[in-house]
Structures are given as structure tokens and as C-alpha cells.
Symmetry: C2
Subunit: 103 residues, 2 copies
């Protein structure tokens, strides 16, 4: 089972869309940051600051990235989002994710 060791985790959840999307912030010794999150079925648009790597750990969703057609992403797959961009996800089944903030 994959684990992150020697990290700091923020106790309180990050809450979006009335909690239908929630995540926890994980801080690494090298100054990098990830969030571990969970999404209920629904449609959500997010805005990025830094570029992000979104790993879908479980579940299924469609994502529309800037300038791209909709694509289906399943557990075990991932996608990259550019910085300063908006992307929309249609979450079909409850989805577990790990979001890495890239520099």
C-alpha cells in the first residue's frame, strides 16, 4: 500500500462544493505539496495556480482540459493541468485522487 512518510498533514479538510469535493493537504520536507482528495459524483470546475498532476486513485470521471475534448479517466490513470487554467470534471462514480502541485 502506497504511503507518504515523514510528512505533515493539515488536520482540517479543504472543502469545495458543499463538501462534495474534499481534500487534505500533505506537506513534504522538500517544500512540495500534494492534496489527497475525494469527489462525490457531480460536475466541478476548478482553477489552477501552479500546474497540477491529478492522479485518479479510484473511480471514473470525464475531464475537459483547456483546449481539449472531453476524455475519460479511470482509477489508475492521471492527467496534467497547466497553471493558471480552468478545468472541468464530470465525476461519474465517487473518485479518490492525489493532486501534486508542480513548480
Amino acid at each position: 500500500m502506497s504511503e507518504f512518510k515523514n510528512v505533515t498533514i493539515v488536520k482540517q479538510a479543504n472543502v469545495y462544493f458543499d463538501g462534495k469535493v474534499n481534500s487534505r493537504t500533505v506537506l513534504f520536507a522538500d517544500g512540495s505539496k500534494k492534496t489527497l482528495g475525494f469527489m462525490q459524483p457531480g460536475e466541478y470546475t476548478f482553477n489552477t495556480a501552479d500546474p497540477e498532476l491529478m492522479e485518479i486513485l479510484a473511480g471514473e470521471l470525464d475531464v475537459q482540459l483547456p483546449g481539449c475534448d472531453w476524455q475519460t479517466i479511470k482509477g489508475g490513470e492521471s492527467f496534467n493541468v497547466p497553471g493558471n487554467a480552468a478545468f472541468t470534471m464530470k465525476v461519474k462514480t465517487a473518485s479518490d485522487y492525489c493532486c501534486s502541485f508542480l513548480k
Copy 2:
């Protein structure tokens, strides 16, 4: 903001009730364990092994502990659950929690 430092976090979520309740496992250097979780509105019954301290970080729910009347718990409040017991929560608004497993 409260944080847990020098911990190990399991990447994959613990998923209950089709993901309406999900949590992440946090492992401490002293061998103790907590889960940081999030519940959508709904009614959920859980069974304990070890006794648990449930801190409700945000949200509102009613809980029925073994042999007790229903009581309302709001963000900032907590309750203890005995080991080898069942308890039921009626979650009224999406609720953020920290569950500590006690020995």
C-alpha cells in the same frame, strides 16, 4: 492551523457507504493511528474494535452511542465510542472529523 508533523499517511482513501464517508489513515511514530475523514449528509452505523475519540472538526450530526439517547454534536465538539460497539450518526451537514483509535 492544526497539523500533524512527522507522520505517515496512506495514499489511498478508506471508503464507506459508496464514498459518502471517506477517510485517510495517519500513522504516528509512537504506533498510534488516527483517521481524518469526511461525511456527506446521511445516516451511518459503524462498528468499533478499539475505543475511539471522534472529534467533529466542522459540520453537524446527531449520534446515538450504545445505551444512550441521541445527542447533537457540532464542529468543535467530540465524543468517545467504546471498543467493540456500534454507533449510529445522522449527519445533517457535511462533516469533517478526526478519529483517534485508543488502546
